[in-house]
């Protein structure tokens, strides 16, 4: 019995460490991509959405577009989006500056390529990024895309998943 308890304890201690350590290089890469990108509001979007122009970097254009989509969702969650002369700025959904670090596993899964984040972003670029929105840079491409982010749905999802508080929580 004691042995069993000891084994269980050890397993319970190892599981979180293992999950924390999964793909550390991939995770580093995921987060490094968020060090520097540009995002701006294009116009006020349809109900519940944000219409953004966002930049992304990748070795190939496709990858840069994928990264730009992630950046758009990332901006809505963590950064907020500056406004322009016809639309007000949009605040970040997560106001807690440590939200990413304290929910690493959740956001790792959320932003994994082809994962949850895609449910909240629609491409409104015609074809691939073109002209000045498609730039060859050292090591790959820097592209800008126009996207519609389902901001309200995204916020609902993060509220439902307990990442951010609902406006009415506590009442």
């Amino acid at each position: 019995m004691k042995k069993l308890m000891t084994t269980l304890l050890v397993v319970m201690m190892i599981i979180p460490i293992a999950s924390e350590a999964q793909n550390p290089s991939k995770r580093r890469k995921l987060f490094n991509n968020w060090n520097n990108y540009e995002v701006s509001t294009v116009q006020v979007g349809q109900d519940g959405t944000k219409l953004l122009k966002v930049w992304g970097f990748g070795k190939k254009v496709d990858r840069a577009v994928t990264q730009a989509k992630k950046n758009a969702v990332h901006a809505c969650i963590f950064r907020g989006i500056p406004g322009n002369e016809t639309s007000m700025s949009t605040p970040a959904i997560c106001k807690d500056p440590n939200a990413l670090e304290s929910n690493l596993d959740y956001f790792y899964d959320f932003f994994e390529t082809g994962s949850t984040y895609l449910q909240f972003v629609n491409l409104t670029t015609d074809g691939v990024p073109s002209g000045q929105d498609r730039r060859k840079v050292d090591g790959g491409y820097k592209v800008a895309i126009y996207v519609q982010v389902m901001y309200d749905n995204l916020k609902d999802r993060l509220e439902t998943d307990g990442i951010v508080r609902k406006l009415n929580s506590g009442f």
Binding site: T124, R135, K136
Partner: protein, 513 residues
């Protein structure tokens, strides 16, 4: 000879390669331009002829037209004395800039304006991406983007500054022929306003229905006293000539000379004014397609240069050319973009691998090629061809009518003139095989040949062959050619030189322009 040939070849390659290496920054936006056309009346006998040529001149579907009340400006100077700056002064003295603004805003005598035409033009100018973005926006403002279009308003003034009649006398026969020649300039002026001008006009001169009578009067007066200047953006020239004959009498030849002097002006204006060159993204490759067509006056064989953007080490944005393409199948896109605009097809004629999203910029050429070659065996030891690209299909098959002159120094000197047709078959982007056929006339030079006896020293010939070429760098091709020629209907004094007909082998260079 061999050295010269080598140096010329090397120079051409260097020049072309340098053209490829330049990196500047191109603007990637294109908006439809609007034009008004005027001609200059000098009050002389040629006015009517010029007016007719002016009336027949069309800018095509690519441009919107600002129809001004006047079509001509008059000047007291003599034909030939009007200059681009004189004309600018006349336009500004008569406040043509304001007439354009009034036209855009459909201003009436009471000073009321509306944006009906602005909205139509704005909608007609948008592209599919604009439509897709607008669909995602709460307020679609596709019809409200005409401010940039107003700034791209131009006046083109046609100045036929030289019309002359020449009598040419043949020194041998004494026969006199009459030649009409004309030189016409097109001066292009752009309205000199910026966004603050339009803001000022909207806020201080645009009469609103609910303005008080005093405010209305003040706004009207402010507009009435407005001066809007034009600025010079380009000046191009064209020449025309026509010989009088039975079928082409004096008046007709004169008209024809003036009209033909107008012909190449649009081509030259478009090459001189960057804003007039269509810019669009490559939408797809395999085949290359993009969303332009008849709305942009796109025609089969029209040439576009493809660029890509890059950031240099300092993060500065630059453009670098990647290759040339030609329009093959043209889409009819003369409607307001809906997100599903039909696409025209293009064929790549030079450069590296093109990718969707690269920028295509209109760079029309004359679609001509000049070739010079030497023949090691056959009718001409040296020849020059001038070909014209008449058509290109989706697979890059090209139709080239051509004319050729050749010279041959044997025991006698021979010169010949031939016309023919070649069909270019692209093997890869670099290689082309062109079967061709033609016929011509070969003349054996002889001292003291009377004109009426020339026929006795000539022979007709037919030729057929194939030219294989490689394009080391656009627009240069190096070719080898094998052909077979056959002479017939020889004049009685014509003597065929040794090995002048039959199988021929040539080598040469072709330069496209």
């Amino acid at each position: 000879m061999n050295n010269k040939f080598f140096y010329t070849f090397a120079l051409l390659i260097f020049v072309s390669a340098s053209a490829f290496a330049q990196s500047k920054t191109l603007d990637d936006s294109y908006n439809r331009n609007s034009v008004s056309k005027l001609w200059i009346s000098f009050g002389d006998n040629f006015d009517n002829t010029v007016k007719n040529a002016y009336a027949n001149f069309s800018f095509g579907e690519k441009y919107d037209y600002n129809d001004l009340d006047v079509t001509a400006i008059t000047t007291q100077t003599n034909r030939g004395d009007a200059t681009v700056s004189n004309v600018l002064d006349i336009l500004n003295n008569q406040n043509f800039g304001k007439s354009i603004v009034s036209y855009w805003f459909n201003r009436n005598s009471e000073g009321m304006m509306n944006d009906e035409m602005m909205r139509q033009r704005s909608l007609y100018n948008v592209n599919d991406e604009d439509v897709m973005i607008a669909a995602a926006a709460k307020v679609s403002n596709l019809a409200d983007r005409s401010d940039a279009l107003i700034r791209q308003s131009y006046i083109v003034v046609f100045n036929t500054n030289e019309i002359k009649r020449e009598q040419l006398k043949d020194p041998k026969t004494g026969k006199v022929s009459v030649l009409w020649q004309a030189k016409s300039d097109a001066y292009v002026y752009q309205i000199d306003i910026d966004s603050t001008f339009i803001e000022d006009l909207y806020m201080n001169m645009w009469i609103q229905d609910d303005d008080t009578p005093e405010v209305k009067a003040a706004k009207k007066q402010l507009y009435d006293s407005l001066q809007v200047n034009m600025k010079t953006v380009a000046s191009v020239s064209g020449h025309g000539a026509s010989t009088v004959s039975e079928k082409n009498p004096e008046e007709s030849a004169k008209q024809s000379a003036v009209s033909s002097s107008f012909e190449a002006l649009l081509f030259k204006m478009e090459n001189a004014i960057p804003d007039w060159q269509v810019k669009v993204a490559i939408h797809d490759v395999h085949p290359i397609r993009s969303k332009i067509g008849t709305k942009e006056n796109l025609k089969n064989t029209d040439r576009y240069r493809v660029y890509y953007y890059f950031e240099d080490k300092n993060g500065h944005l630059k453009t670098r050319p990647k290759g040339y393409i030609r329009a093959t199948t043209i889409a009819d896109n003369e409607s307001i973009a809906s997100g599903e605009t039909p696409m025209s097809r293009f064929y790549q004629i030079s450069g590296g691998r093109l990718e969707p999203g690269m920028l295509m910029v209109e760079k029309k050429d004359r679609r001509m090629g000049i070739s010079a070659g030497v023949k090691y065996h056959g009718a001409n030891s040296f020849f020059i061809d001038l070909d014209f690209l008449m058509h290109i299909n989706d697979l890059g098959f090209c139709s080239y009518p051509f004319a050729s002159i050749g010279f041959d120094q044997r025991e006698e000197f021979y010169a010949n003139l031939a016309i023919g047709y070649g069909h270019g078959i692209p093997l890869t982007r670099l290689f082309e095989l062109m079967p061709f056929a033609g016929f011509g006339i070969d003349y054996m030079a002889h001292e003291n040949v009377d004109e009426d006896k020339i026929a006795q020293y000539t022979a007709f010939f037919a030729e057929a062959g194939a030219r294989f070429s490689i394009q080391p760098v656009y627009p240069i091709r190096v070719f080898v050619q094998a052909d077979y020629s056959l002479n017939f209907l020889e004049g009685i004094h014509y003597e065929t030189g040794e090995n002048r007909f039959g199988v021929g082998l040539s080598i040469g260079l072709r330069y496209a322009f």
